[in-house]
Amino acid sequence: MSLLEVRDLTVRFGRRQIVAVDGLSLSLAKGGRLGVIGESGSGKTVTALAVLGLLPANAVVSGSIELAGRPITSLNEAGLAKLRGNVVSMVFQEPMTALDPTMRVGRQVAEVLRLHTSAAPGKAREQVVAMLNEVGLPDPGRVAMSYPHQLSGGQRQRVVMAMALINAPDLVICDEPTTALDVTVQAKVLAKLDQVLNLSGAACLFISHDLAVVSQVCEQVMVMLDGKVVETGTVADLFNRPQHPYTKGLVATSRLDQMVPGQRLPVVEDFYHPDAERVGR
């Protein structure tokens, strides 16, 4: 049985019932990884928040989400809170603001541990420092005693990763975890993420708008456009035989190494037939 099973998920917002996710289905096996790729507003983050049961109050959800056999869409707040941070966790996009600025980061990580397990304070501290070390933070003891503003973006993102991984969840959702970081740091953080996911055996839903980034972590990729899944396949399939015009554009725009200097850069719109209307527009 799969770990995460989403069937026909539709999310609408507000009084005007604006559709953010439209009939999305996906399935993720235990320890599996799936990249979700799409431009901003394509419904990637909304899908992730729906899996966590963290959608804002004005969202109307239909369809079903099953995580480790539990129906997310029909659980109450207390039931969801028990799963979050424990069975499923999330690495957010903005490491600069995702941490509480008034609390030492070690304590923030320890809190996640102690919220779901009955670890004694001393034991929790040990585990926190070990986890910080595991996500590749040098001098983890000192980092644990730091406030977020004393750390760099890359360090903070590793702390956020440590928070997400400390309870060895079955599923880790990464929402553009490296978008806010510069490229060299990005590569290091991704390599470390790949490594710790392998180590813990957690499944991963990896959200990004960048095909190159997704390909470093995931084999299977799902392409979203305007709330719908337009294409799924392996990274290699997508690169070599993109089917949907949007995917073709995505692949072409990610191959900047093949550009001739002076030539106009391709945009996604180049790959649509001039007469064809984009879905939902």
Binding site: G85, L99, E111
Partner: protein
């Protein structure tokens, strides 16, 4: 080093404000119509006897001389003597300050005990009936004048139910139980009125936190909305709340003056009102100056409290 400079600057501001306030207090009290000589001698006194008494009390000297005399006394801790009773103003203040300090201290605490939980509920449940009830309650609480709330409380709990004394005061050293019983209604009155105003600030500070990324992180690791707000919102919200508390200190003191006269408490407020009525200028000036210094000291403390609450203010620069 930078921290030291910052503290020194703040203390400088404090000193300048105190000097400005002393001038203002002096001028306003000097401009009051009528004087203590008339109050002492009564309406039948002749202009000559009034003038003689004024000269005796030093009230006929030029204002700058009177001001410098008074400020010089302030600096050496001599606030002068009451024209009426002849007691030193400092002694009068000392006898009264405890009552006001208890009242204001407990009322501040009480208003926080009311405002923090209700503001939290109002923020978390802002889209359901609980939030509306708290919001409406706060509005009503703010609309009630403090003297009316005091009269209402004393009518209900003292006159009708006979649970508590309607007015008066017993010193803590005389009877702790009597002291507590006499303070309950005044403190309750002031707490409710101040707490209502504070609730709105607490609510908006917490609503701001609800939109922060770290709140979403806290939710994503398994905190329920209320606990996420409490653990990660309170300290962040405190940064704006201590500012409000500092600003409220002056309104609590004003409220205390009213409450003291409603419940007939022998505090600074009732002393001040009597002294104003009798034109006992040195008592008025001494009391007002004391209240001004307290308010200014509170606002300086508020500025220093940011250093304790917000770790970002302690570090001079990022370590990386």
């Amino acid at each position: 080093m930078r921290l030291g400079i910052r503290i020194a600057k703040r203390l400088g501001v404090f000193a300048v404000t105190v000097v400005g306030a002393s001038l203002l207090v002096f001028l306003i009290t000097a401009a009051l119509p009528g004087d203590v000589a008339e109050a002492i001698l009564g309406t039948s006194a002749t202009p000559e006897t009034v003038a003689a008494l004024r000269a005796q009390l030093g009230l006929d000297r030029p204002l700058p001389v009177q001001y410098l005399d008074w400020v010089g006394g302030l600096l050496t801790g001599n606030l002068g003597v009451s024209h009426l009773s002849g007691d030193p103003v400092l002694t009068l203040l000392g006898a009264r300050v405890a009552v006001t300090a208890w009242l204001v201290g407990f009322a501040m605490l009480g208003s926080l005990l009311i405002a923090l939980p209700s503001g939290l509920v109002a923020a978390v449940k802002r889209r359901s009936w609980q939030g509306v009830v708290v919001g409406a309650g706060a509005q009503v609480g703010m609309a009630i004048p403090v003297f009316w709330a005091g009269i209402l409380a004393s009518m209900v709990f003292a006159v009708w139910l006979h649970w508590l004394p309607a007015n008066g005061y017993v010193a803590l050293t005389k009877s702790p139980l009597g002291w507590a019983a006499h303070l309950v209604l005044p403190v309750l009155t002031l707490s409710v009125v101040q707490g209502a105003a504070l609730t709105r600030y607490v609510r908006s500070a917490f609503v701001e936190v609800l939109n922060e990324d770290y709140y979403r992180t806290a939710r994503a690791v398994g905190w329920t909305p209320a606990r996420a707000l409490w653990r990660h919102g309170l300290r962040n919200a405190s940064i704006s709340l201590v500012t409000v508390l500092g600003l409220q200190a002056s309104s609590v003191l004003v409220g205390a003056i009213v409450v003291e006269s409603v419940f007939n408490l022998p505090g600074l407020g009732s002393m001040l009102l009597t002294a104003v009525a009798q034109r006992d200028l040195l008592v008025v000036r001494g009391t007002v100056m004391f209240l001004v210094v307290v308010v200014l000291a509170i606002s300086a403390l508020v500025d220093f409290s940011y250093l304790l609450i917000d770790p970002r203010q302690q570090t001079e620069r990022s370590t990386q």
